[in-house]
């Protein structure tokens, strides 16, 4: 028997025990009052979305968005269709740049990308968001 075999044999039992213990279901009761911090965490994504919408409602921001050729009301409607992760990204931008020029560009870019994706998915017939787009290859 080589040294390596003996080494493996010596390790086998303790390792088996470790694996057994780690895989046992941990049964700690979570019964408790829900703390205010937990309530806050649960509503984070909702609050982020509200923040982006409030940002879009600012007069200077509406002007900037219009100057980029997007209707501000339409932009607000599209924000509703962004995912939580996308909203979180925009909020991140807002925190880095409180004055907001960069955010507007970022936001409009995100909204345009979503728009483009929906046009493409409409075209290939996966979605049907825009009634004026008919899927390629008929129905």
């Amino acid at each position: 028997m080589t040294f390596f075999d003996r080494f493996c044999r010596a390790l086998a039992m303790p390792l088996a025990l470790v694996v057994l213990f780690v895989s046992l279901p941990i049964n700690v009761s979570q019964a408790a009052l829900v703390t205010t911090d937990q309530v806050l965490a649960e509503t984070q994504s909702e609050a982020d979305r509200e923040r982006v919408l409030a940002f879009l409602a600012r007069e200077d921001v509406r002007q900037q968005i219009s100057s980029l050729g997007v209707d501000p009301d339409e932009a607000a409607r599209r924000v509703q269709s962004l995912s939580d992760a996308e909203i979180a990204q925009i909020v991140d931008q807002m925190d880095q740049d409180p004055a907001g020029q960069g955010v507007v560009v970022f936001l409009v870019a995100t909204i345009l990308i979503i728009f483009l994706i929906l046009i493409i998915t409409d075209l290939i017939g996966v979605t049907d968001v825009f009634p004026f787009i008919n899927p390629i290859g008929g129905r």
């Binding site: 979570q30 019964a31 408790a32 703390t35 205010t36 911090d37 806050l40 609050a47 409180p98």
Partner: protein
């Protein structure tokens, strides 16, 4: 704008002494270029100031809060001095000296922003961040002094500083600061914006919990109140939640916080009322039903508690296990 200086990585192969020297020179040159560029970039835009001076958007042309006491800074104690000024203004009898053990870090020869935030809360004050220049001036116009964090130096050679903004004058284009050893220092708004930008636009209103910053959103205020709750200042937290509900009567999180502080203060009846209001606002909120169950249990109304806990399980969604645990605990407790 943040400017990262270019880093020239070391080549993976071994260098002859001459080559190493050349690389070092290159690094030095890039560092210098970075310094010059940083100068150029930070010297230009003060965009928020420009916009504000063009369109003051309903801000009064000037404002000053005369009642803010001035505590001159000693040694590196700008953090304790600035915090003491706003706390004393809010009605607490404190001096900078009292706050040194709470907010000063000797190893850093200064105070951290989180220390200032924590220090406000430990003293029972509602601390809410302000991140825009127009909001900062609006707070001043509303009579709230604002603690500001600045980098008086450059990004590469920072000199961090805490001061207290006590007023402004739009026609002169200045902001008035209690700063360092100088009371009522008038600084051009554009210069202030640049130093504040290098401090990540960090500023704080520190108010008694029955007053709210005029520019803050509902969530910022509720988070600040939760900070008071975490710091163990239950009665101040309760006041802050109640004040927030005065402005935003529909705030589910604020009314949950109100219930939680009352429950922690062993006012189960008050907690019950708050949780019932939370359920009125959101009938399918599992956390409200869960906490109501605990309040009812504390009041000795076991069967009601059990049915509330069952509702929490029913609405539990992804958290069902946790609410099931609560239900079991409440049922096990005996009649």
């Amino acid at each position: 704008m943040h400017f990262d200086q270019a880093q020239i990585p070391s080549p993976p192969w071994p260098l002859r002494p001459g080559a190493a020297c050349a690389v070092r020179l290159l690094r030095l040159a890039s560092r210098l270029a970075g310094l010059i560029l940083a100068f150029g970039l930070t010297a230009c835009a003060a965009t928020q100031t420009e916009r504000l001076l063009e369109q003051p958007d309903g801000l009064p042309p000037r404002a000053e809060i005369a009642e803010v006491p001035f505590f001159p800074q000693e040694r590196y104690y700008c953090g304790p001095a600035a915090l003491a000024m706003v706390l004393a203004w809010s009605g607490l009898p404190v001096t900078a000296e009292d706050l040194v053990p709470q907010v000063y870090t000797p190893g850093r020869e200064g105070s951290l922003r989180s220390d200032i935030l924590g220090g406000s809360r430990r003293n029972g004050r509602l601390a809410v961040e302000v991140g825009r220049l127009d909001a900062l001036l609006a707070e001043l116009a509303a009579g709230h002094p604002v603690l500001v964090f600045q980098n008086l130096g450059l990004d590469l050679l920072p000199q961090w500083h805490f001061a207290v903004a006590v007023g402004y004058d739009l026609s002169a284009g200045t902001i008035i600061l209690h700063s360092g050893t100088e009371a009522r220092r008038e600084l051009p708004l554009a210069t202030f914006e640049r130093t504040w930008r290098r401090g990540d636009f960090w500023a704080l209103t520190v108010l008694a919990p029955d007053r709210l910053p005029v520019t803050a959103g509902q969530r910022d205020v509720v988070e600040a109140a939760a900070g008071l709750e975490r710091a163990g200042r239950l009665s101040e937290a309760e006041t802050a939640y109640a004040t927030a509900l005065g402005r935003w009567p529909e705030s589910h999180t604020a009314v949950m916080g109100l219930g939680n502080t009352r429950y922690a203060a062993e006012d189960a009846l008050g907690a019950e009322a708050a949780y019932r209001r939370a359920i009125e606002l959101r009938p399918d909120s599992p956390s409200a039903w869960n906490n109501l169950a605990y309040a009812l249990k504390a009041l000795g109304r076991r069967s009601e508690a059990v049915s509330a806990a069952q509702r929490a399980v029913a609405f539990g969604g992804a958290q069902t296990t946790r609410y099931r645990d609560s239900l079991r605990e409440i049922m096990d407790d005996g009649p």
